[in-house]
């Protein structure tokens, strides 16, 4: 017993010093899904953070930036554990992350208990992270899932002429948000949804879902990420399915478009909308792409949306730090004010925050086309300017729709 106590005491002594701060450095913590099924996306997120810090030469306002990385596996608990270590042990003052929807909700809750640190979302896009019960020190420089698909519902109905669709999506908070964002305009225009298939995250065998898709639909809205998307596409195609697709952003992210195998070719001609478009010609985007390609030759052909979103959040923090000359005193008051008022040109156009610290941003409507080197790219069709979280409604009206879920909106 004595030995254990002694060891513990010795450890405690060494650990005491962990949170000590040096005056000439600013500590950044980044949380991304470096384990589990979203590991590729998490890696992309960290690349984005590194790019932004490199752009500033590793320092801001004369202070060195120290980056510490925390890893989660897309489960809320592990994201909070990673945040705890970064903030409470390593003394991170600014946290970038997390990546996935339910993690974001958990980190928002956690941020309320840590008023001395600021949290900037990475890629997570569940609606209620900022819409309902927001946190004072949680900033989301990234659109939520409903913003991601702005314009897609109208485009599907008006340009593509689809009137009756089926929806296949994963069964958790982020796809609910995204499907809500799609259905709201689509249903208001008079579009019908024949059936919604909410499949558990990580479903591999879609044969039953495919068999249940009604024959009389015009198209299928697919909101599945990573390997789930690939499995669905391959099985749908093999089953002789011929309906056109409409893709929720993650389904046609570069991490899917550059995967191994032929079934993704079925996506050619699929419309989607997203905070990135591969063929965007804006200078901020092409500069970002070249910087990414130069720094990460082993990375994806073009940066995925998670690389961009982590990059934007990190850069926002750095710009705000620059403005306040690295001043993080007084519960980071000056820094937070600067961050809230900041407007800057990101690779995805101009962005600023609303009163809930949620971004207002351009969204890119695009279609999938074959790229130059045999891969696929999303080709920009049009830009939907300055989409806010309430999709153009006033806050009261929008909140009245209620929290997103399996059956919201009803679409009668």
């Amino acid at each position: 017993m004595k030995l254990k106590t002694l060891t513990a005491l010795a450890l405690a002594a060494t650990l005491q010093t962990g949170a000590a701060l040096a005056d000439d450095t600013i500590k950044f913590g980044a949380i991304a899904t470096l384990e589990g099924p979203f590991a590729v996306l998490g890696q992309e997120g960290i690349r984005g953070v590194e790019l932004a810090i490199e752009e500033f030469g590793g320092e801001v306002a004369g202070k060195k930036i120290e980056l510490m990385v925390g890893s989660s596996n897309a489960q809320p608990d592990t994201a909070v554990a990673a945040a705890r270590k970064l903030v409470e042990q390593d003394g991170a003052q600014i946290v970038i992350g997390p990546l996935s929807g339910s993690e974001g909700l958990a980190i928002k809750d956690y941020s309320k208990t840590q008023p001395q640190a600021s949290f900037l979302n990475g890629g997570s896009a569940a609606q209620d992270t900022t819409l309902r019960d927001p946190s004072e020190n949680f900033f989301r420089w990234n659109p939520d899932g409903a913003q991601w698909v702005a314009g897609l519902g109208e485009y599907t109905f008006k340009e593509k002429g689809y009137r009756n669709i089926a929806i296949v999506a994963e069964d958790y908070s982020f796809p609910y948000t995204l499907v809500f964002g799609f259905m709201k305009p689509y249903c208001e225009l008079g579009g019908k949804v024949a059936e919604r298939f909410w499949v558990p995250l990580g479903t591999k065998d879609y044969s039953s879902v495919i068999a249940s898709i009604p024959d009389d639909i015009d198209a299928i809205l697919v909101t599945l990420g990573g390997s789930d998307a690939i499995n669905f596409l391959s099985q749908y195609q093999q089953a002789g399915g011929e309906k056109p697709m409409v893709a929720g952003s993650i389904t046609v992210d570069q991490s899917v478009l550059s995967s191994k195998g032929r079934s993704k070719d079925y996506l050619i001609g699929t419309p989607t909308s997203s905070p990135v478009a591969d063929t965007n010609t804006a200078k901020e985007w092409t500069d970002f792409v070249s910087a990414y390609q130069a720094k990460f030759p082993e990375g994806l052909p073009t940066p995925s949306l998670f690389a961009q979103e982590y990059y934007v959040s990190t850069k926002a923090a750095l710009l705000a730090l620059q403005e306040v000359d690295g001043d993080l005193s007084d519960q980071q008051k000056a820094f937070r004010a600067a961050l809230s008022d900041l407007t800057f040109l990101t690779p995805a156009g101009e962005r600023h925050l609303d009163e809930n610290r949620q971004v207002v941003t351009d969204i890119f409507l695009s279609e999938i086309r074959p790229g130059e080197d045999g891969g696929l790219v999303s080709e920009l069709i049009s830009v939907i300017p300055q989409v806010n979280q309430t999709l153009g409604d006033d806050r009261e009206t929008f909140l009245a729709y209620g929290p997103v879920g399996r059956d919201n909106p009803e679409c009668k």
Partner: protein, 287 residues
Amino acid sequence: MKLFLLTILNSLTLAGLYFLVASGFSLVFGLMRSVNLAHGALYLLGGYIGWEVAEFSGSWLIGIAAGAVSMALCGALLQLCVFRFLEGQELRQTLVSIGLSIIVADVMLATWGGQAYQFEVPDFLWGSVKIPLLGLKYPIYRLFVLAAAVLAGILLWLLLNRTRLGKMIRAGVDDRTMLEATGVDIQKIFVVVFALGAGLAGLAGVVGGSALSLSPGEDLRYLLASLVVVIVGGMGSIAGAAYGALLIGFADTFGLAYSPTYGVVYTFLIMIVVLAVRPQGLMGKSS
């Protein structure tokens, strides 16, 4: 009606895949009384190696062979280098296999990353075919999986019932001490059986990876499927594995088709019911 027929076909083909994976698991358990919880890791590793070889050689069939052979070798090595030293200590064998599966899963994630891998199956297996009489279109490849499972089942049955090796294995399952007393080198048989079981897992890795895809987490999925199949069917019985695979295949598929929300739970409910009524499984011998 169309949905019903399609669901039946889907159930049968999924059962085929489950049988391919679980038969090897059941075989190893039947003879050696050790539960190899690294079976799922062997499935996924076999799949990845098969994918690399298929990509390199340009031939899917060579990929299948590579998946099976490489895992058979792995299995033999596992038995020779690890499990042999823990003979008779079933719990420690199981624990070691858990530890190994954790390490292998992590190394695979480091090597092949998190994205999905799909095989390029030969053209004659790609696409769908119109099934006469039923008037339905159905993916050719899934029918191939079913055929492969049936073939594997027949071959296993022949091996166990019509060959000298099979007789020795069955004798070992019934009474290991007696078999040893007759002068048979049981260690050799252990190695062969372990290699066979692991080889089946590797083969299933390529066949299953072509039907769906390979990605992290598949190891656990097929380990669980194998567990449930052999618990329901009865340990160590090839026929039991077949019945178990059918039952679970049907439960999975009908669940997802007719009650998507709780589909995944039904499988485990069936297992619990079977256990409550027949703890040794449908075809298991009571101990």
